[in-house]
């Protein structure tokens, strides 16, 4: 297995996987606790629509992925804030509309482009140095922001109104969280793909949620689980010639079910009931 690490492409893939695993799993803690799971899934599809349009127009794919992702996540936040429409309905509409756009843009391409499908299904083994630098840069931005504003992010995840009432600029922090979710999705598109990226955000955080009663511990556990699954998933994918996205996500899913079965919280509840 060690000789694998001598290959440049493998070093890039493992580094990309570790970065994506850590960013997704940390932002996932706030997504799970603040109840934004479905909003993030919608964002992933919107970002893919951005990628397809970028290929159609000959632009860098991640540039339009960011634009589409941010637009979707901000509209979602605004709808939730105004409460004018049920959130699941508005996200459902955005989700399918952006997917329709993506299919439309794919249809408008004259030739079959396997690179575009890489963003849909994930192809970590083909990550280039430039892509790795983009992933690295955005990861530093997302993780750095979370580190600087973790106390405010925890508070709005716990109770946004209480946070606003006690002097935290809760609304601005909420929109910042949505922005970080969109950036995380964009960072992860190439590695796990638009369809599976949200699994990487949800599953490690949900697994950690089963294991602890402390916010800081949940974040730490989630990060460790995210990195472990991403790196091991890439190695399995290479060793057994499997697609990388599903290898990572299915490994994380197995850990999730294991955690549910062994969850100290659940076992404690069963004992007390």
């Amino acid at each position: 297995m060690l000789e694998l690490l001598a290959y440049d492409f493998m070093q890039r893939s493992l580094l990309a996987a570790a970065l994506v695993g850590s960013v997704c799993s940390v932002i996932g803690v706030f997504v799970v606790l603040r109840g934004l799971a479905f909003a993030g899934a919608g964002t992933a599809h919107a970002a893919f629509a951005g990628v397809t349009l970028a290929y159609l127009l000959g632009l860098p794919p991640l540039s339009l992925a960011i634009v589409f992702g941010l637009a979707t996540v901000w509209i979602t936040g605004w709808v939730e804030e105004k409460g004018r429409m049920k959130l699941d309905v508005s996200i459902g509409i955005l989700y399918t509309a952006t997917m329709a756009l993506a299919i439309l843009f794919l249809g408008l391409m004259k030739t079959y482009n396997p690179e575009v499908y890489g963003y849909l299904f994930g192809s970590v083994l083909s990550v280039t140095t430039e892509e790795l630098l983009t992933i690295g840069g955005l990861s530093v931005v997302v993780l750095g922001t979370i580190l600087l504003l973790s106390k405010e992010l925890y508070f709005i995840a716990f109770d946004q109104e209480m946070a606003a009432a006690s002097g935290v600029p809760a609304r601005q922090i909420f929109y910042l969280l949505l922005t970080l979710v969109a950036l995380t999705v964009v960072i992860s598109l190439k590695t796990v793909g638009a369809i599976l990226v949200f699994a990487m955000i949800l599953i490690p955080a949900s697994t950690a949620y089963q294991l602890t009663h402390s916010l800081t511990q949940m974040t730490l556990y989630s990060m460790l689980i995210g990195i472990f699954c991403s790196v091991t998933g890439v190695l399995l994918s290479y060793a057994f010639d499997l697609p990388s996205g599903p290898s990572i996500v299915l490994l994380a899913t197995s850990l999730f079910f294991l955690a549910v079965c062994c969850s100290p919280k659940r076992l404690h509840r069963i004992q007390t009931e």
Partner: protein, 260 residues
């Protein structure tokens, strides 16, 4: 009378087309314990949101801590400890008692600053004041309803507030817990000299403990010492047929149970 810490001057609140509170004039001096009563939909929670600066008056003015309420900034809000109506707490939400109380420090600390040992001491002291310090490492979801309310009161105290706003702090608790929470609030008022605004349905529980009662039904019907407000002729104007006063002067409002 000391300088008012909260002053409504002909203030009207609501949304265009819907008035929730109309033409309220009321001054609350520092260190007063005020109970706010009134039927469902009488604007009690709107009053709370207004004092928190989350709602600007449509007309008139409201000044809190010597600042127009629509101009309250985060550092003002940090001086108002707030206990919202008890929602359904996710029992599995991963937060320990101390972590939840520490959140009370975040507004006062401001962005980018990490809580220090001093903030931790303030949070521990707040927990001691509500008698919950020995539970500091417990999961919040594992506590009883009454204990959780104590923790949330500690969270508000950790802000080191000048005003404590309590929105129905006893709703959803069993009778023993209701009494112990109200006793705790009275004790905190006496010890810390906080200005307390407590919204409640339970008139009998607080009548002997507050300095003043405020009776609302969109308008301000009465404000004064409990014995002056709790007169059948005043109460019946607000509660109508839903009001029953027993021989022992026990006040029963029929719609009370709709809240459970």
């Amino acid at each position: 009378m000391t300088h008012p810490i909260i002053r409504f001057d002909h203030a009207t609140f609501g949304f265009p087309g819907t008035v929730a509170l109309e033409d309220i004039s009321l001054s609350i001096p520092e260190s007063e314990f005020v109970g706010v009563i009134g039927p469902n939909g009488s604007g009690k929670t709107t009053l709370c949101r207004a004092v928190l600066g989350l709602m600007a008056p449509l007309s008139g003015t409201l000044r809190v801590l010597d600042c127009a309420c629509e101009e309250l900034r985060c550092h003002h809000r940090a001086l108002i400890g707030y206990l919202p109506q008890k929602g359904m707490l996710d029992r599995n939400f991963p937060v320990t008692v101390l972590e939840a109380v520490m959140m009370g420090r975040y507004g006062a600390l401001g962005l980018f600053r990490r809580p220090s040992g001093k903030d931790r001491d303030i949070a521990r002291q707040a927990l001691t004041q509500v008698g919950m310090d020995h539970h500091r490492d417990s999961a919040l979801g594992a506590l009883s309803g009454g204990q959780q309310q104590r923790v949330f009161i500690a969270r508000a105290l950790a802000q080191q507030p000048r005003i404590l706003l309590l929105d129905e702090p006893t709703t959803g608790l069993d009778l023993t817990a209701q009494h112990s929470v109200v006793e705790l609030i009275q004790q905190l008022h006496q010890e810390l000299k906080l200005t307390i605004l407590m919204i409640t349905h339970d008139i009998n529980m607080i009548r002997a403990r507050v300095d003043r009662l405020v009776l609302l039904k969109t308008k301000l019907f009465a404000a004064g010492p409990p014995q002056d407000v709790l007169k059948p002729e005043i109460l019946s104007q607000v509660y109508g047929k839903e009001l029953v006063i027993t021989d022992k002067d026990f006040i029963i409002v029929e719609d009370y149970h709709h809240h459970h």
